[in-house]
């Protein structure tokens, strides 16, 4: 599941998967623009078949936040 998430982020942000960790986010990844955040959210909803609330979406500051919200939706990470 972790790999699936990382690959998706890598595809949307157009950066290699090995450059992504739990701390990655708009503040430290140059290509993580606000527009790419929307695209990522959109792709996450499609990929994991979930809908995020506005509050959840706005709370995302890094990969760890994404994992936390996905876990709240019942998605398990190793």
């Amino acid at each position: 599941m972790n790999k699936k998430l990382i690959n998706l982020i890598s595809k949307v942000m157009n950066i290699p998967p090995e450059e992504i960790n739990d701390e990655s986010g708009p503040l430290n990844v140059e290509k993580w623009t606000s527009f790419n955040s929307y695209v990522l959210l959109y792709e996450l909803e499609k990929e994991f078949n979930q809908k995020f609330t506005m509050e959840e979406a706005m709370d995302v500051k890094n990969v760890a936040d994404i994992k936390r919200h996905l876990q709240n939706h019942g998605i398990q990470f190793d």
Partner: protein, 586 residues
């Protein structure tokens, strides 16, 4: 619904694009009242499929007025060919969007008048500052109204306000050649407001078009780019069995094939109606089918529900030859390049064979459910042109006349006799407001007999026509079979009073091979003589397609010096006696 790729696909592809040096070029600007990221990248990828190198500039969020008005703006500096201005009803109407009935009837009318003038004013600025085409989206009529089911009972209600604004925009720009209204409201209905507009995206980042629908929007906007660049398919080549009717005529027989107002034959019946409409606006139809000629002709001539008639097809290849050979022959007989052809066939193997052997031909595989055929055809953006001219509307008739000419050619003794028999009349005209759209269209579309292949938009031709340093002329060609319309163009730069430069010289492929080009150049030489000009300087700029015009200059007595061709005006060019030339509006 024809399925598009996802936005993510286009964003990724855009990263991998390589710039090709010999591609066509276009610069597009996108300015908008809402967040429209991803559209430019999608257009770029779609253009690359057509071998077009697209560069873009996307204006900052909601800065469209500044981009247009300020001569220091990024858009202005980018100097785009085409600009898309995308506006939304919500931001234009402000609070009136939510509660239009806070205004009384007179105030609502005044409000729309003011909004219209705002846009008009902005676009006038654009026309003054930019030498580009502008495509403005019109306004979506939302399903929402604060008056609910009473909305339609209101005099000049909320929805009518938007409708009226849209009609005013259409009317204002109907006659302007540099501004087009993109019917975003229809786009919105086609895909559904519920699908396009997603509240979360809107609230989150003023994203008013759902990501999944950006590629559909790009597809529609690409039509303008195709038309601007003259990337237009001219001819549809159709298979017969399981394409124009259901079943196989050779096996099922005349009575058993599916075609008519009842299902399942109505899918083909409907498909034919749309094909007929395309033919009426100037797209040439032809047949390429493996069949016994008599069987197929019986259906075309006698089937009560055959919408397309024999005279609707400019070329029939119904035989047992392979389809690639037939396509090549169709291209040759109609004098339409393979890249001007779309081929429809239900057989996957045939489609693949054509795809591989003739990659210039666009292949549309109709192997699926025939109920999709009409939509597949409607969804194509390959037949667009910036203007529909009289020549377009009469095209099929002109091609049929061409076929009669070719028959005469076969029966004539010599080419000279054949040409004499045609009784060709050439009318040379100077460009005027009425002729500029067609002259521009010819410069954009003509590839084969074209010495310099310079492309000119309508505004360029208009400018050159009014420039005393230029002669912009064209020729109408008639013969005993009919009128081919305006089919030749020449542009002369006479800035230097001793040496005139032939800026452009072209001839539509329809009238090639009749020495008409000689009468046009003779006219230019004659004019030069009258003006005491000593030399005419011409150029042949080779392209992949203009080989047919390669020897023209030397045949007319031009001599080559370096990369230029020079004609000494003291010589004279003998015209073939079978041509009758008349000069108009001198």
């Amino acid at each position: 619904m024809i399925n598009e790729q996802s936005l993510q696909y286009y964003l990724n592809q855009a990263q991998k694009l390589e710039k090709k040096s010999n591609s066509k070029q276009i610069k597009i600007g996108i300015i908008s009242s809402y967040t429209i990221n991803g559209l430019a990248e999608t257009l770029q990828v779609k253009c690359a499929v057509n071998d077009v190198n697209c560069r873009y500039y996307v204006g900052a969020y909601n800065q469209y007025s500044q981009e247009i008005i300020s001569k220091d703006s990024g858009l202005y500096k980018f100097n785009p060919d085409v600009v898309f201005l995308l506006l939304d009803t919500r931001s234009l109407f402000g609070n009136v969007f939510y509660d239009s009935y806070s205004l009384n009837l007179e105030e609502r009318k005044l409000f729309v008048k003011e909004k219209f003038e705002e846009i008009e004013n902005l676009i006038n600025h654009f026309s003054k500052n930019f030498n580009s085409k502008l495509i403005v989206s019109n306004f979506t009529i939302p399903s929402y109204s604060s008056f609910g089911i009473n909305e339609t009972k209101q005099d000049y209600g909320f929805h009518e306000m938007i409708l009226s604004l849209n009609s005013k925009l259409n009317l204002l720009f109907r006659e302007k050649n540099n501004v087009y209204i993109f019917d975003f409201n229809s786009f919105s209905s086609k895909h559904g407001q519920k699908n396009i507009f997603n509240y979360k995206n809107f609230l989150f980042g003023d994203i008013q078009i759902d990501f999944d629908y950006i590629p559909y929007l790009a597809h529609e906007l690409q039509s303008y780019i195709n038309a601007f660049l003259g990337i237009t398919k001219k001819c549809i080549v159709l298979d017969l069995d399981n394409t124009l009717w259901g079943g196989i005529i050779g096996e099922d027989g005349f009575e058993k094939i599916q075609l008519g107002p009842q299902p399942p034959g109505n899918a083909y019946y409907e498909f034919q109606k749309f094909l007929k409409a395309l033919k009426q606006r100037g797209i040439i139809l032809a047949i390429n089918s493996k069949n016994n000629l008599e069987d197929a002709l019986k259906v075309i001539r006698e089937h009560p529900y055959m919408i397309l008639q024999e005279e609707d097809f400019s070329c029939l290849k119904i035989n047992w030859q392979d389809k690639v050979k037939n396509l090549k022959e169709i291209s040759k007989e109609l004098n339409i390049g393979l890249d001007g052809i779309v081929f429809f066939d239900d057989d996957k193997i045939n489609c693949e064979y054509v795809n591989v052997t003739l990659p210039q031909v666009k292949v549309v595989n109709l192997s699926g459910d025939p109920s999709f055929f009409p939509e597949i055809l409607q969804n194509m953006n390959d037949f667009e042109s910036l203007k529909i001219t009289n020549e377009d509307l009469k095209r099929t008739q002109m091609y049929s006349e061409q076929i009669k000419r070719d028959e005469l050619k076969d029966s004539s003794i010599s080419l000279n006799d054949f040409l004499k028999n045609l009784a060709i009349k050439i009318i040379i005209k100077k460009s005027d407001n009425f002729l500029t759209p067609r002259i521009s269209q010819l410069t954009l579309k003509t590839n084969q007999f074209n010495l310099t292949t310079k492309r000119y938009q309508e505004e360029d031709i208009h400018r050159l026509t009014n420039d005393p340093n230029f002669i912009v002329g064209c020729a109408q060609v008639k013969d005993k079979f009919g009128d081919s319309g305006i089919t030749g163009v020449f542009i002369v730069n006479k800035q230097n009073s001793d040496e005139w430069h032939l800026d452009s010289f072209l001839l539509s492929c329809r009238i090639m091979g009749r020495e008409i080009e000689k009468s046009l150049i003779a006219y230019v030489i004659d004019e030069a003589k009258k003006n005491n000009v000593k030399k005419i300087i011409a150029e042949y700029i080779p392209t992949q397609k203009n080989k047919p015009s390669e020897n023209f200059l030397s045949e007319c007595g031009f001599l080559k010096y370096d990369d230029k061709w020079i004609y000494d005006v003291s010589n004279s060019l003998k015209l073939p006696e079978f041509l009758s030339v008349k000069v108009e509006n001198e």
